[in-house]
């Protein structure tokens, strides 16, 4: 199998992978990085979102050949307990979840939005999260958390 090279959470990666295999399988299987979640396998729920450049993409629908050379960030690459991303801090402050299974994908979609648009309106946040499904009904808390993170980033 060919070696595919890309950046993952800021580090250079070279993995042996079938070019048609999906990035999510490689992350969760071969690499043991489980932050991106499987939800539907069809790019319809957003649970598996990762950032490619400044875009949130469904890693369940992203073949490895298309990952080559890309800069990929998963939720693990956003921040750590010691150095949290403002979004992670804000999701804790707002208690922005119930079960939390959709949260990694939502954090990624929000992080990609803030990269492109550091001061989004509420409507822009919602539009950016429309490809992420949440079944528990924590949407409003999540939107508040994203706006909180944006304003925190603007003043820091």
């Amino acid at each position: 199998m060919p070696v595919i090279e890309f950046q993952l959470n800021g580090a250079a990666m070279a993995v042996d992978a079938d070019p048609d295999q999906m990035l999510l399988d490689v992350l969760r299987g071969q690499l043991g990085i489980t932050g991106a979640h499987f939800g539907c396998g069809a790019g319809e729920c957003g649970a598996c979102h990762v950032m490619a450049g400044d875009r949130a993409v469904a890693s369940c629908d992203m073949p490895m050949w298309s990952v080559a050379g890309k800069d990929i960030v998963t939720v693990e690459g956003l921040g750590t307990v010691e150095h949290p991303h403002p979004l992670q801090r804000a999701f804790i402050s707002e208690q922005a979840m119930q079960c939390g299974y959709c949260v990694p994908g939502i954090l990624i979609s929000a992080a990609a939005l803030l990269k492109r648009n550091p001061s989004p309106t509420e409507a822009e946040v919602k539009a950016a999260l429309d490809r992420n499904l949440c079944r528990c009904g924590s949407h409003n808390r999540m939107v508040r958390a994203v706006l909180r993170a944006a304003s925190e980033m603007a003043t820091s």
Partner: protein
């Protein structure tokens, strides 16, 4: 002379599991472990229970480690359902911890030579006059908790609680934002293999022949497991398991399936099946001739759980013993069903809980656990993880039952209600494992000696009922008859989904009340208040009305509606007011709710549950309907079973009426019925049409308009 007060009784969960050490233990280095039998299903229960324990023990909540339920050690608290965890586990823990505290105070008193009444506990340190001190951990060796709780222990009064009643941050949230593995889906065991099960594409079809050659050729395949009509693959990676399953599907021959009903005539189907009829309640009054009788029929469709994660489980055999990891709502109940299927004593099976995605009732969590156990038989002593596909999750998991509800309301000349007859046609709302002589698990119907599919039944009225849940009005009508017709056929698999029948019944009752209030020209809130005697009920309605500035001036294209219920007629009180915008499509702009759960252990947790329930109910009302043709479920993807998206979510404003002196009840199911009714009533207010069939889509509104004109 007043009657003697009844002898004090233990809380029900504690009576069933009285050993104190099974609930609480002091472990080394200032730690406390608390073991509830209830499980985290995304509702924040673990945090609320930790708050209760921290309060009674007087320890900082950060010292508490909450143990996941396991049949190896945890109290058996049945199933985590029905909004009962705070009621059952919370009360048991409060009592058990209060008693543990007393034992330690007695031991400290003996060691320090100071009367227990002079001792105080602060974060686990026990101190008294003269600066003497000890701690739970110093005394732990002297105090045995291996004895049974006794009735009569008095927990702290509401005024003395410092943790319960406050919005403590949830203990599981940091793990979830930093992606530290917590979900069963993310927790690999050493040597883990991956399994997939072959399920039919036609409802009720059975596997009759299988050519395994294609699957055998897949690289990474470890085993093909067959047991009658149950077939699956085990492989060394998920990708290999998926590839093998795809190959296996090509080699499968299926029997014809069982026909499904007409999805466009659910009421016709439900009302034509053989049923078991139960009169739920009657109330009679001196007969009064009705001036007229309104007869209305309401329906709700089958509703999918549609958790964001597909169901997942792991299992590992060691000889004739098996260990199972599951996100089931009831580890002991699942174990009981596994024991039947495997023909093993329950002691040979350990079932351990791990978190899954949000759980709203009896989904496929238990089914996939049996799948994993059966597939792990082909894996020697290696663990096998099985994860369902999105398609299987939306096709083969149980659904919330469809309902047809007919209400006849007798009205006098002034359009006051003199009689009320409410009849329900529905499949049962519960076919949970562990409660019958036959297993309720899907694969049990597929194996070589198959069990019949369990026809769902209804919990007894004393437990809140099933299809009949919330069918007895809380309003003081003079006479009523409530009848439940439970179907004895079940072409579409149904079991418990959030609120059971309450969503449908509250929708029906509250819709008709609005219609009658309108006939009378009476404000719908005044009309409700006039028919309620329970002050807590009136308070939530008044609070919601005040908060929503009821009733805002009429504007074109905007509608307002109200809905109210007390969940199960014994649980949380909730009133909802919906503001909608109606043009071609209905858009719910704002929901204003007031709720009374008695003591709110974690107010922000209660608000979160009510917000979530309100948004989920909005999704059910506007969008959700399990789709099928006569052969198969067709809504097996998010495209075909859409749910509410971020842009469609209404603003939700929640007021809690705190009653710290009243025993707490759960909040998870309180909002669905009231919100459903509030939206339907707002649609009438906005468009002048009454939609009586859920979901309220553009097509249903057009159909209702045609009926009116």
């Amino acid at each position: 002379m007043s009657a003697p007060s009844p002898a004090p009784k233990l809380p029900v969960s504690l009576a069933a599991n009285p050993r104190l050490s099974s609930w609480a233990k002091f472990t080394g280095e200032g730690r406390v472990t608390i073991s509830p039998g209830k499980v985290e299903i995304g509702q924040g229960i673990v945090t609320a229970l930790a708050q209760i324990a921290a309060d009674e023990l007087d320890v900082d909540i950060s010292r508490i480690e909450m143990i996941r339920a396991s049949t190896a050690a945890s109290p058996n608290e049945g199933v985590t359902s029905g909004s009962l965890s705070i009621q059952q586990s919370g009360r048991a823990l409060r009592h058990a911890c209060a008693e543990v505290r007393q034992h330690f105070l007695a031991a400290a008193s003996e060691r320090l030579g100071i009367d227990a009444s002079l001792l105080a506990i602060d974060d686990g340190t026990i101190s008294g006059p003269g600066n003497v001190r000890t701690s739970y951990w110093e005394l732990a060796g002297d105090v045995s908790l291996d004895h049974d709780a006794t009735a009569g222990t008095v927990a702290k009064s509401a005024a003395k609680r410092t943790v319960a009643g406050h919005s403590v941050q949830r203990v599981d949230v940091p793990d979830k934002v930093f992606a530290r593995p917590r979900f069963i889906h993310d927790c690999p065991l050493p040597g883990l293999l991956h399994g997939r099960v072959l399920r039919p594409d036609v409802s009720g079809a059975k596997l009759i022949a299988l050519n395994e050659a294609g699957a055998q050729a897949v690289s990474g395949l470890v085993a093909i497991v067959r047991d009658g009509g149950f077939a699956g693959v085990v492989a060394d990676s998920e990708a290999a398991a998926e590839t093998a399953l795809k190959a296996m599907r090509k080699g499968a021959t299926w029997s014809a399936g069982e026909p499904l009903p007409d999805e466009d005539d659910l009421a016709g189907f439900l009302r034509s099946q053989p049923v078991e009829t139960t009169v739920i309640e009657t109330r009679t009054a001196a007969t009064q001739k009705a001036a007229r009788t309104l007869r209305r029929q309401y329906t709700r469709p089958y509703v999918a759980h549609a958790s964001i994660a597909p169901s997942c489980a792991m299992a590992q055999w060691h000889g004739d013993r098996v260990r199972v990891w599951t996100h089931s709502q009831g580890v002991y109940l699942l174990r009981a069903d596994l024991a039947i299927v495997l023909e093993l004593p329950a002691e040979n099976i350990v079932v351990e809980h791990m978190e899954g995605a949000g759980c709203y009732g009896h989904n496929a969590a238990d089914d996939v656990a049996l799948d994993a156990v059966l597939l792990a038989k082909g894996a020697g002593d290696r663990p096998v993880r099985v994860q369902w596909s999105r398609r299987d999750e939306m096709f083969h998991a149980p659904f919330g039952a469809a309902m047809a509800i007919e209400i006849e309301a007798d009205l006098d000349k002034a359009d006051e209600i003199t009689g009320w007859r409410h009849a329900i046609w529905s499949n049962g709302h519960a076919a949970r494992p562990g409660r019958a002589a036959q297993p309720a698990l899907l694969a049990a119907t597929e194996i070589a000696n198959p069990y019949p599919r369990m026809i769902s039944s209804n919990p007894p009225a004393a437990n809140g009922g099933g299809g009949d849940r919330n069918s007895v009005p809380l309003y003081d009508f003079a006479a009523w008859t409530i009848t439940s017709h439970r179907l004895l056929t079940m072409p579409v698999r149904t079991s418990a989904l959030r609120t059971l029948g309450a969503q449908g019944n509250v929708f029906a009752i509250e819709s008709l009340l609005d219609e009658i209030a309108a006939l009378r020209g009476e404000d719908p809130i005044e009309f409700r208040l006039r028919h309620l005697r329970d002050e807590r009920a009136k308070d939530v309605i008044r609070a919601a009305a005040r908060r929503a500035a009821w009733k805002p001036e009429k504007q074109a294209g905007i509608g307002h509606g109200v809905g109210f219920a007390r969940y199960k007629n014994t649980g949380a009180y909730c009133a909802a007011i919906a503001e909608i915008e109606g043009a071609d499509d209905i858009r719910v702009k704002r929901l204003t709710l007031a709720v009374d759960v008695g003591e709110a252990i974690n107010p922000d947790g209660v608000i979160n549950q009510i917000e979530g329930g309100a948004i989920q109910a909005t999704s059910w009302v506007l969008k959700e309907r399990v789709r099928f043709d006569r052969a198969r479920i067709t809504s097996a993807s998010w495209t075909d079973y859409p749910i509410l998206t971020f842009s469609e979510v209404p603003a939700v404003d929640v007021e809690i009426i705190q009653r710290p002196e009243i025993e707490p009840v759960g909040a998870g199911e309180a909002a669905h019925g009231p919100v459903t009714a509030a939206i339907a009533n707002a649609v009438q207010d906005c468009l002048g049409v009454r939609v009586r069939d859920l979901p309220i889509t553009r097509d249903k509104i057009i159909a209702a308009m045609e009926l009116t004109s």
